[in-house]
Structure formats: C-alpha cells, structure tokens
C-alpha cells in the first residue's frame, strides 16, 4: 500500500469546498485511486436514481463490458443487494459452483473478473450509491483493504454531501441528478468522438479525459462543449483560454 498516496487521497476527497467542485471529476478520483490503492482490476461508482434504477456515474475504465456489469446489476448482483441491505456485499469467487447471480457472474467472467465487492455510500439511513471493486482473481480483497475501501467511500460520501454547504435534504437529490445528467453528456461526447475518429468508446473516453486534464477543465465541460459544438473536430480549435 502506498501510504503517501493514501493520505493524499483522503485529503483530496475531503477537499470539496472549492469553488469549482465537480461531482463527476470527484467520483473519477475515487474510482481511479481505489484501483491504485486497493489493487483492484477496476472500480466504479453507481448512484441510486429515484426513478428506481442504479446508474453508473464514474468508472476507472470505460470498456463496454465493465459498463455492462453495472447496468446488469439493476436485475441482479452485489450492487443491488448492497442497496437493498445497506451493507457491504462480497463475491469472492464468481466462477465457483452454483453462483448467486448467474447472469452477472457470466458477464464478469467475460470481462476477466472473478471477485467483486460492493461498498455502500451511506448518508444516515439512506444509501445514495455504492463503490464497486472488481478483482481478476478469486479470493476477493483482504480485510484491511476493504476497510480502507469503505473509508474512501465514506469520506467521498461526506465530501459529496458537503458541496455548497448542504443544509437541505433536497440539495442532495438535485446534485445527484445533475451528476447523472453529466454522465449522459459524457456518453454523447464519447459517441460523437468515436464516430468521428472511428475509434472505440473506451479510447474516445480517454481522449476526452486526457484533454480535460491537460487543459485544466472539467470533463463534463469538455464533453458538453464538444457535443454542442457545430464541428466534430477534436481536440477543439484553440478558441479560448482554459479557465482556472
């Protein structure tokens, strides 16, 4: 475990009172660091949509197979169970006999994962989302790593809910819906770029993300400008100075 990275991550996750805080960037930080710190093959954050659905908000990779694993969990899987019970749910060997979630296990195997952990993101009695960790081998994650994973999820939840000094319960619902819509903008931008350059969605995502990082902009803003723009050229022509 890289303890310096760990402490940096806790500080960054707690530091959400900045003026231009962006939920999507924040959740990407959570998933990327979970992968690095916990030796996970992949990580993702799923949020509960009040429409009655679990929707992915951020993932460490945008491979279609991984995104499908989140989508599938609307029907079955550790995430759904985590939401229903409010507790962490482990599957240490998805390839074992008599799988609890056969369709999920099958899809996970196709993506090269054999173990999965769903850690709840809780606000008092309400589960607003879950952090999913995927591992390539059987056996799951060790107990110490899972405690750290849950601590990351907890700090992220608190940080998320502190944005703009949340005094009203409504603000949480507003903010989570905003994050889910940002996610839609990013998907639209991935599609536009993938078509323009004849590349796959994961590659398109990486290009958008790298451009956002290098130009010091929020991923959502880059994606929105690109989707709204009349031109399909990317990177966009230098028409303005990046803010910040």
């Amino acid at each position: 475990m890289d303890t310096e990275l760990l402490s940096d991550t806790f500080v960054e996750l707690a530091d959400t009172m900045v003026a231009d805080f962006d939920v999507i960037d924040f959740l990407h930080l959570l998933t990327d660091r979970s992968v690095l710190l916990l030796a996970a093959g992949a990580a993702g954050v799923v949020l509960a949509d009040p429409r009655g659905e679990l929707r992915v908000a951020a993932a460490s990779s945008e491979e279609a197979g991984l995104l499908e694993l989140f989508q599938l969990q609307n029907d079955q899987g550790p995430c759904l169970e985590c939401f229903r019970t409010g507790r962490a749910v482990s599957a240490t060997d998805l390839a074992g006999p008599a799988p609890r979630w056969p369709r999920f296990a099958e899809a996970a195997a196709r993506s090269g994962f054999r173990s999965v952990e769903a850690l709840p993101m809780r606000l008092r009695d309400q589960v607003i989302g879950a952090l999913n960790l995927f591992g390539a081998g059987p056996g799951g994650f060790d107990a110490a790593d899972l405690r750290i994973g849950q601590a990351l999820a907890d700090v992220a939840t608190i940080g998320l809910l502190q944005e703009r000094n949340v005094r009203r319960r409504e603000t949480v619902a507003e903010q989570l819906q905003g994050a889910l819509n940002s996610r839609v903008v990013i998907e639209q931008a991935k599609g536009k770029l993938a078509e323009r350059l004849s590349i796959d969605m994961d590659r398109a995502f990486k290009m958008l993300r790298d451009y956002a990082r290098n130009s010091n902009q929020h991923l959502t803003d880059v994606a929105r400008d690109f989707v709204d723009g009349a031109t399909a050229d990317f990177p966009p022509p230098a028409r303005r100075q990046p803010h910040r």
């Binding site: 949509d49 009040p50 429409r51 009655g52 659905e53 929707r55 992915v56 279609a64 995104l67 989508q71 609307n74 029907d75 005094r167 009203r168 319960r169 409504e170 619902a173 507003e174 903010q175 819906q177 905003g178 889910l180 819509n181 940002s182 839609v184 903008v185 998907e187 639209q188 931008a189 991935k190 599609g191 536009k192 770029l193 993938a194 078509e195 323009r196 969605m201 994606a223 929105r224 989707v227 709204d228 399909a232």
Partner: protein
Amino acid sequence: MTDSRALAVWAQVAAHAAAHGQRPSVADVCAVAVSSAQLSGSWVVAARGTDPDFVMCVTDPVSEQLAELQLTLGEGPCHDVLASARPVLAGDLGDAESARRWPAFTPAACQLGAGAVFALPLIVGAIRAGVLGLYRGAPGPLSGRQFGDLLILADAATVMLLGSEHAGTENGDGAALDGQAPDLALHRAEIDQATGMLTVQLGVPVAEAFARLRAYAYSQDRRLADVAGDIVARRIRLGRDPGQDGGP
C-alpha cells in the same frame, strides 16, 4: 425494475388523455404530475439554449402567472434548471435561501399563493428541451416516491417535446403516443453514445440526432436500446438522406 414503474406512470398519462378523447400531450403530463404528487399546479416551459423561451402549457391561472413571472423577471427556478442541468427543489419559498436565490421571484410567487416550487429539467445530456415546473400552496418537501414519479413524467414530457420539434418524426413518437407507451428506457449508455454517433453520421445537432434515433427505432418496430446497441456496434448506419436509413 424501472420499466414497470415507468409504464405505470405512463398509463396514468394515457388514461388522462383518453378521458378527454385526445392523444397524450405535455398537458396530460402536467395534469398527472399535479395529481400524483399532490401539488397545486404545473407548467411546461420550452427552452432555447440555456434560457426559458415560452410557456407551452399550464394547468391553472396561478401556474400561468408563476411561469410568466419568471420569463418577465429573468430569474427563478426554471432559469436555474436550464443553467445547471439539474432539478431545483424549493420546498419552502419562505426560507432565507429562496429569498437570497431569487430576490424578485420569491416574494411575487409567495404573493400568488405558492408555498413550494419544484422545477425539473426536460434535458437529456446536452439536449435542453425545457422545464417542468410545479407548485404547491403549502410548503414542504417532495417524498422520494413523488420525486421519482415526477422524474419519470419529466422523461415523458422530454420525449414529447423532442419528438414534435423535428420534421420527419411525426410518424415516430407522435404515433407511438397514440395510446401506446413511448420507449421511456432513456437511461442506457448506448442510447446516449448512439445519439452522439448520429450527430456525425447525419450531420445534425444532438437534439435532432436523438429524435431521428427514436423515429428510426419506431419505424422498425424495435426497442430503442436494441437499435442503439446496433449503432454502437456499427451494425447499422443511418445515412444523411432519410430514405437511406437502415442499410447496414
């Protein structure tokens, strides 16, 4: 699990329209929103970019005034929804935050008898169709269940607005709304990705790409998510000439 809930909400919209001998419209969505969440009134404002443009429908005179008031003052929950692309839930217009946020709108709205105002985006990613506005005489928050149902109703209104706006789609959602539930399964990554791809394939803005995707799925009598999956997998391309749509 969402599909059955969306269908149940949609059935209420269709029943409301049928009771008036009409095809379902945003007016029916407004009426069902009011009854299902126990509110006092509702309205829909169409958007032009990030600004509210004009009032499309209202359920009652107070709603009409609340909607017009925002357009006149240039501030209010509907403006904030379009600017932020997220809902605005002002459960108590008497609180300090509402007064600070909308100094002109809040006192005027209270005078009209509004205790709570809620505004939901009619937005799909970068596509801004409008805002569903709602008010209640008595202050108080929405329950989680009410909020979820209103979000589903907002999805229905969004699809109606986007379907009617673009030429060539009258046989798409317009016909689908003839008593039959529209495909409200909007929330699939592949649908959004396919929409983005179609902006390039068709050379059209994103709102039109979304409408064309829905119209194509309807014309082929296929599920939106399945057609989107074929587009993302590059098994289907839609041509710039509408007559060529559908050739793999």
